[in-house]
């Protein structure tokens, strides 16, 4: 209950900023009254607002989902709230070291959340996540140190002003900073060679936490990438073709992860790999750097958060009802839970990008943006990625409709699944349909964000 009240309070605060932010203004708050270059300042602009709305929306649904499960006690909610608040902190802060601190807070909270069930496998998965993330966040700290030594400030605006000068004098150091940051944000958002923690952590975490990981934590990595790359390197590196590097990573993630998703045995691992491939899709849009590409990327971030969290919740309910983890065991789910199966079908069609669901709109933008660049190689890869995604989702759907008699696992007692869980899943499907039919709802939110990214 306290968690819900906290959510309501922050939603209220956010909504007070809504009108002026959507009109294109920027709201600043200096912590402790210290002005910008010295103290830490929080700032709400179009981009932050867009992500904040996403976090509040998905966060609320995650909270509601976990309310119905008696397993989750006070410790769970406090950790969840820490995670959500540090995500909001990442989104609002204007100080690069503060960004690092919030990221570490988020990471610590999510390590504990993943191991919430105290099983050996969850602890192994969480440990892998911990080691990998900390190893790469040292890189981020290093890049902050380099920037601080060059500019003498940790404030993002101050650094951004000085970077073109540094690039003129010594481009190599900017490359180093860029690479270090790319690796550290890449591990958060699950770019191809750094994706390895995702399937392990997603499949072992409790269901609401899988939703949190896929829906929000990956997106925060993307937020940091968008914010810092476009602020720092927008005028220097990205206009000189480094976007191609991001596109390359995007393509590799897309193809590789959809190929891996096709042959996974466990449903949650399959969903996790599919997340990576969708991230690849978003990275292509980010790397293009055009108005349309960024619009598609931001839209797809929003859609993917809704779709994938919903899919994880569906899978979670099915697992807790049947006790099965593996796709080929989930036969005849249709007879047992028709509503849930329809929801799963709807959400996976949205993930493939079938109209009139929301995934279609964002994929349309990205494809259009690529077409405007006349790059047919990328188009071919997108083709392949979409078809592989379709194949891996229909593999699951056809298993759900298979005729075999539904049976529970041997000596398994199904957990009672309450109304809260079902309500959340239906809400996700409803939102997907709503946004698919009225994409203007989200596009109006994206426009101010685009103005921030491409001034």
């Amino acid at each position: 209950m306290v968690a819900i009240f906290a959510w309501l309070a922050s939603a209220f605060v956010l909504s007070t900023t809504a009108r002026s932010v959507l009109a294109g203004q920027v709201i600043k708050y200096n912590l402790g009254g210290w002005p910008a270059p010295f103290g830490i300042s929080l700032q709400v602009d179009g981009l932050s607002f867009f992500f904040a709305v996403l976090v509040m929306l998905v966060g609320l649904l995650i909270l509601i989902y976990s309310l119905g499960i008696y397993l989750y006690a006070r410790r769970f909610y406090s950790l969840l709230m820490i995670a959500l608040s540090s995500i909001l902190g990442i989104i609002l802060t204007r100080d690069i070291f503060n960004l690092y601190v919030f990221f570490e807070m988020l990471a610590v909270a999510s390590y504990v959340l993943i191991t919430y069930k105290h099983k050996p496998r969850t602890i192994i998965a969480s440990f892998k996540y911990l080691v990998m993330t900390e190893a790469t966040w040292v890189f981020f700290l290093l890049s902050i140190a380099i920037l601080y030594s060059l500019t003498g400030s940790l404030n993002m605006d101050v650094i951004a002003v000085q970077i073109p000068g540094i690039y003129q004098a010594n481009p190599q150091i900017v490359y180093v900073v860029f690479s270090l940051m790319m690796i550290s944000f890449g591990i958060k958002c699950g770019m191809f060679p750094l994706h390895t923690w995702i399937p392990e952590a997603h499949s072992q975490a409790p269901t609401p936490v899988s939703g949190l990981l896929s829906g929000l934590i990956l997106k925060v990595g993307l937020y940091a990438m968008l914010r810092i790359f476009y602020l720092f390197f927008g005028a220097t590196l990205l206009t000189h073709g480094v976007g191609n590097v991001i596109i390359f990573f995007g393509i590799v993630s897309l193809i590789f992860a959809s190929a891996m998703a096709l042959v996974q045995i466990e449903i949650k691992r399959m969903l996790a790999y599919s997340s990576i491939s969708q991230i690849g899709f978003i990275l292509i849009g980010v790397g293009l750097g055009t108005q349309l590409g960024l619009q598609g990327a931001l839209f797809h971030i929003f859609n993917h958060a809704l779709i994938k969290t919903g899919l994880f919740f569906c899978a979670g309910i099915i697992i807790s009802q049947t006790g099965f983890w593996k796709i080929h065991q989930m036969k005849g789910v249709w007879q047992q839970m028709p509503g849930l199966t329809i929801t799963f079908c709807l959400l996976s069609l949205a993930a493939i990008g079938i109209p009139p669901l929301n995934g279609f709109v964002s994929k349309l933008f990205v494809i259009q943006a690529v077409l405007l660049k006349h790059n047919y190689l990328i188009i071919f890869c997108l083709f392949l990625g979409i078809l592989l995604t379709a194949a891996c989702y229909f593999r699951v759907i056809q298993m759900f409709f298979s005729p075999e008699e539904f049976h529970h696992k041997h000596d398994f007692r199904p957990n009672p699944v309450g109304h809260f869980e079902h309500l959340t899943v239906y809400a996700f499907a409803f939102l997907c349909l709503l946004i698919g039919i009225f994409p203007a709802l989200v596009i109006n939110l994206i426009q101010p964000a685009l103005k921030v990214l491409l001034p």
Partner: protein, 513 residues
């Protein structure tokens, strides 16, 4: 940027398709009332969704709406195909849905490229600015679009989903697939080709290939619905041939054949559906002599078979006559047409004799005529075949759009055409009797094995399945290569960093991608 979608331009082409779809769809509904017994809610829900998709594609004012409704139809039809939820229905549905998505993506990319050229998706604007666009890019766009539509139609060499999906679907759904769903691709093709005024050599080739290929493969089938599915491929070849010729006679003939094929193929599927409903048998060798037990089905099937073989006075003759005349004396095309017509005659002679003639097997002694709603649909469809066949001229001029002078005064009861038809029929009879004599038809005794191995070399299906198996093997290999170990993961991270630095320091990235 928001892409608007818009509907409702009822011009003569969509009016024609609209009449056809609503008429035939309502017959499928009536038929389903008696045929479908389980999962009624799901079945009718997706059936209505398929109707929505089909009507949407026809009423779409712009290419994007066309694509959206096409995908809606694809998904709905997938769930109709797997409605039986048998073990073998899922691979067929899987093949269908993946190929359809691929086709849809081709169409989407073509649509977006056209948008980039013209700034709109609207058909009307395309028609206005068509002559100002650069010819090279139009050719590329049309090629993409045509490939997409050919996949939707199920033309050779993209036909592999068709013979798998038809037999496994419930019979009204097979009728729907053959009658309406594959026509939507043809509709899109006609719309675009008519806007850009391009007759396509490619379509002639694909059409002829589909005609011959379909009928050759149909002759040997022993599963009754699979046989009809192959025959659908061959009949869609006529439509493509007509469009490829591109004269008003050709396109008009193609459109007329869309209508006629929809009616008689639907009739045939529903008849065999009635046979399956009454006997639960799909294999030719278990059927026979049903003519006496099911007179209405047998009579209507006979009409359908005569119509598809192009024998007057049924509707198949009329549209085939138009297409034959459109070839304008090209000997090769005419030969191909006559061979296909002969083959079709042989196929349906075989089907009719094996199912309705001959001796009634012992286990089928208690077979009865099917319920009234099914008979109703069959009779109406047979009536349409007869009426259109008797009065082809008025029907053509009333409903089929794009009527040119050549079409207005077309003489259907032409001596030359009748000679051609007679020739085809006798050739067909000859093929049938020789086929039975030498065991080439898959019925009776005789050598089957050598022929089937011969035909399996022709199979394109193997190629597609091979590609799919290859992809899966590659994915599995990838899965094995990726070791789940923390050391490897950390190695990946450092390698990524090193590669990134290397790529950025050397100006490689300026030339790559």
């Amino acid at each position: 940027m928001i892409f608007p979608t818009s509907f409702w331009p009822v011009d003569s082409l969509s009016f024609f398709m609209l009449i056809m779809v609503t008429m035939l769809f309502s017959l499928v509904f009536v038929y389903s009332l008696a045929y479908v017994k389980r999962n009624l809610f799901r079945y009718y829900f997706v059936l209505l969704m398929a109707l929505l998709g089909i009507l949407g594609t026809i009423l779409a004012k712009d290419l994007l709406s066309f694509y959206i409704c096409l995908e809606l139809m694809t998904v709905a039809v997938y769930f109709l195909i797997v409605d039986n939820t048998k073990k073998e229905s899922f691979p067929a549905g899987f093949k269908y849905v993946i190929m359809m998505f691929a086709g849809g993506l081709f169409i989407l990319v073509a649509a977006l490229m056209l948008y980039n050229l013209t700034g709109t998706f609207e058909f009307a604007v395309f028609a206005r600015v068509a002559h100002t666009l650069p010819a090279e890019s139009i050719k590329l766009i049309l090629a993409l679009f045509v490939i997409g539509c050919l996949i939707e139609i199920g033309a050779v060499p993209f036909h592999v989903w068709l013979p798998d999906a038809h037999p496994i679907a419930p019979s009204p759904v097979s009728a729907l697939l053959s009658g309406l769903v594959i026509k939507i691709g043809a509709y899109g093709l006609i719309r675009m080709l008519f806007i850009f005024k391009l007759g396509m050599q490619l379509l002639i080739w694909v059409g002829v290939l589909s005609m011959i290929f379909g009928v050759v493969l149909a002759i040997r089938q022993t599963n009754i619905k699979r046989l009809l599915a192959y025959s659908s491929i061959s009949q869609m070849g006529y439509v493509l041939l007509g469009m490829g010729i591109g004269t008003s006679l050709g396109i008009g003939g193609g459109l007329f054949h869309i209508l006629n094929h929809a009616t008689f193929k639907m009739l045939l599927f529903l008849c065999l559906g009635a046979v399956i409903y009454a006997t639960r048998e799909r294999e030719l060798k278990n059927l026979g002599g049903l003519g006496k037990r099911m007179p209405i089905t047998a009579a209507t099937f006979c009409i359908g078979a005569l119509a598809i073989s192009g024998i007057p006075p049924f509707n198949g003759f009329a549209s085939k006559a138009l297409i034959v005349s459109a070839t304008a004396g090209n000997l090769w095309l005419k030969t191909a047409l006559i061979i296909t017509a002969a083959g079709t005659t042989a196929v349906f002679l075989k089907l009719f004799l094996q199912v309705f003639w001959g001796e009634l097997p012992a286990q089928l002694k208690k077979t009865n005529e099917v319920p009234a709603p099914m008979c109703f649909s069959l009779l109406i469809l047979a009536g349409i075949c007869l009426v259109v066949g008797l009065f082809p001229g008025p029907v053509l001029n009333k409903f089929v759009p794009l009527t040119g002078i050549a079409l207005l005064h077309f003489e259907f009861w032409n001596f030359k055409l009748l000679v051609d038809t007679t020739m085809a029929v006798f050739l067909g009879l000859a093929i049938y009797f020789f086929g039975v004599r030498f065991g080439l038809l898959g019925v009776g005794e005789g050598r089957g094995k050598e022929n089937s191995t011969l035909l399996s070399y022709l199979s394109v299906d193997k190629f597609y399945c091979g590609v799919a198996a290859l992809i899966e093997a590659l994915c599995n290999m990838l899965k094995k290569v990726m070791r789940r170990s923390l050391n490897v993961y950390l190695l990946w991270i450092f390698m990524a960093l090193v590669i990134l630095l290397f790529v950025l320091w050397c100006p490689l990235w300026k030339i790559t991608i």
